[in-house]
């Protein structure tokens, strides 16, 4: 057995190194994303934000981390203890596990050439893996909410269930278009297909898919405006009402890990990954170019993260029926039509440029819904004008 390990060491060590990097970086990143989020929130709201601990408040995240680790381990009497403990860890495990198939930097096609920015490269069904694992992340929330044995928690869990099931469909369907165009489930292949000019990025071929994907991904991460499972105004803390201290941190880290994952996926699937026009293809190239590619990818990811953070302060939270309506009446039909369009174009061998025309889809949908809304307005008015309010009040 040991001899086998030695034999496969050249393949194994980059994977182990990548695992080490992920395990080391992700919690740290999670901590600092809270800091960035607080800072950005403060700036958006014309405040200063944390600025007391360390220069510019940089150690605030560390202080928070220390504080929350040292907090009392509170276990309410009424919880189902085993599940109560499993839920937050499961939440974080699934979030981290999704990073296994995630290239977080340029990946050379020649996998044995030293370190590559991926734990398990060359998995043909990479994107499917990603979906599969992230679909499991609902368990953390559901089990946590149920094990808390508290009505707010269970409401959070139920909402979370419904939200996950609903948004997983447009999420998967939006990716299908990209997959169909690329012809591969392999993320590296999808990125590779976007090398070359700016116009090779999937966002130009699949704008609707990008929109649907990003929206659904926000919903899957429970970020605003879709954070109904934990919305404070209605459910106290939602599924994590009964969680505090380190167990709460695990949920929290999972959420931020999801944000990172989603940002990476958006950048990889739609924004050209580590490619940028003018830069050489980093696959298999020198370290410098590799690093450049990494920087490009990270820049794109940061951009997406920033958008996610800013969206929180730009949009109000959805009502639950609006949330469901958006998924089932908006995103799923859009994604479906988009997918059909892609299928038609590919099967009939039509010119690829026709795909750009899918951008019209949302406008058509908007036109349809606006017309429908205005019509309902009209009918309301005719209805109302027919009936005068009883004992009409007169204003002199």
């Amino acid at each position: 057995m040991i001899s086998r390990f030695i034999e496969y060491w050249p393949v194994l060590w980059p994977a182990l190194a990548a695992i080490a990097v992920i395990l080391a970086v992700v919690p740290f990143l999670g901590l600092y994303m809270t800091f960035i989020e607080r800072k950005v929130a403060a700036y958006v709201q014309d405040r200063v934000g944390p600025n007391r601990v360390g220069p510019f408040g940089l150690f605030q995240a560390v202080a928070d981390g220390i504080k929350i680790f040292l907090k009392e381990q509170l276990i309410p009497d009424h919880v189902y203890t085993a599940l109560y403990f499993i839920a937050p860890s499961f939440s974080l495990i699934t979030a981290m596990f999704a990073l296994v198939v995630m290239p977080f930097g340029p990946v050379a096609t020649d996998y044995k050439s030293g370190f590559r920015f991926m734990v398990a490269p060359g998995i043909d069904i990479g994107i499917l893996m990603m979906l599969a694992i992230s679909s499991l992340s609902a368990y953390g929330i559901i089990v946590g909410g149920w094990a808390s044995n508290n009505k707010y928690s269970i409401y959070g869990a139920i909402r979370s269930c419904a939200q996950f099931i609903s948004y997983e469909i447009p999420l998967g369907m939006s990716i299908l278009g990209v997959i169909a165009i690329t012809g591969s489930l392999n993320i590296e292949q999808i990125v590779k297909a976007q090398s070359g000019s700016l116009l090779d990025w999937n966002v130009f071929w699949q704008p609707v898919a990008m929109l649907v994907f990003f929206t659904s991904a926000l919903a899957e991460t429970n970020r605003l405006p879709f954070d109904l499972p934990e919305c404070e105004q209605e459910l106290v803390g939602g599924f994590h009402t009964e969680y505090s201290g380190i167990k709460f941190v695990l949920f929290f880290l999972a959420e931020y890990t999801h944000i990172v994952t989603v940002s990476f996926l958006t950048a990889l699937l739609f924004l050209g990954g580590w490619h940028f026009p003018g830069l050489p293809d980093p696959s298999g190239a020198s370290t410098l170019v590799l690093a450049l590619g990494l920087l490009v990818l990270l820049a794109k990811v940061s951009l997406v993260v920033m958008v996610i953070i800013l969206l929180r302060w730009a949009l109000p939270r959805f009502r639950f029926d609006q949330l469901m309506g958006l998924a089932w009446k908006g995103l799923i039909p859009l994604a479906l039509v988009n997918l059909v369009g892609v299928a038609i174009v590919l099967t009939l061998g039509l010119p690829k440029h026709l795909l750009i025309a899918t951008a019209v889809l949302p406008i058509l949908a908007a036109y349809y819904s606006a017309a429908k809304f205005n019509a309902s307005l009209e009918s309301d008015n005719t209805l109302r004008n027919g009936i005068q309010p009883q004992g009409a009040v007169s204003y002199e």
């Binding site: 405040r47 800013l310 908007a366």
Partner: protein, 211 residues
């Protein structure tokens, strides 16, 4: 009045229904709205001037009628002005004042003109809601809420102020010139004030009335 008039009277206006605005295609698309929201957020993030006050460095200007920590006033002789009438304790809606009264030490010439004084006077500053009713109720203006707002303590016990601590608040606020403005310290309470005389005096009972 309106019944007598015909329903089509030009003066009479029927209630108008509120009307939702019509949706344009752009509105229904949501995206422009989201973009404008994002733009607002970014605009503030980039160019917004923070309105935060950096508290320990920049102290806020507390209005003089702010209701902060209590103090027990001293009279001219430096004794506690409180006469232990329990009015504040009675008025307190939060039940945070506790007084134990005692006869003033009659042998002490310092206390000769006083009958009753508070042996203990305790205010639980944590329980207090700073409503100012005690101040309102006090007939001798002995208890006042100062504008001292930065009240902190490391233990709960520390926040239960006894008579000495409340008197020391008086000493400190007098020294620092942060006297409250609502009551007139130094004067006796309204019950002990000299009655208005002459023209200001109210008419004597019975006069000016017939039989």
């Amino acid at each position: 009045m309106s019944e007598s008039k015909p329903a089509t009277s030009p003066k009479k206006k029927t209630v108008k229904w509120g009307q939702a605005p019509k949706l344009s295609v752009l509105d229904a698309l949501y995206l422009p709205a989201i973009a404008s929201g994002l733009a607002t957020a970014v605009r503030h993030a980039v160019s917004g001037k923070p309105t935060t006050r950096q508290y320990p460095e920049v102290e806020p200007e507390i209005p003089p009628n702010y209701r902060g920590v209590h103090r027990l006033n001293r009279d001219e002789a430096g004794r506690v002005k409180c006469v232990a009438c329990y009015m504040c304790q009675t008025a307190c809606p939060a039940n945070c004042i506790e007084i134990i009264a005692a006869p003033a030490p009659k042998d002490d010439p310092h206390w000769k003109d006083r009958d009753k004084f508070p042996a203990t006077f305790t205010i639980d500053e944590l329980r207090c809601i700073y409503c100012g009713m005690c101040e309102e109720a006090c007939p001798v203006d002995a208890i006042e809420l100062t504008s001292v707002y930065d009240l902190t303590g490391m233990t709960r016990q520390e926040m239960i102020f006894d008579k000495e601590k409340l008197l020391s608040v008086f000493d400190e606020t007098v020294k620092s010139g942060r006297d409250p403005v609502r009551t007139n310290r130094g004067k006796l309470g309204p019950a002990s004030e000299v009655a208005p005389t002459g023209k200001d005096a109210p008419p004597p009972p019975g006069r000016g009335k017939s039989g």
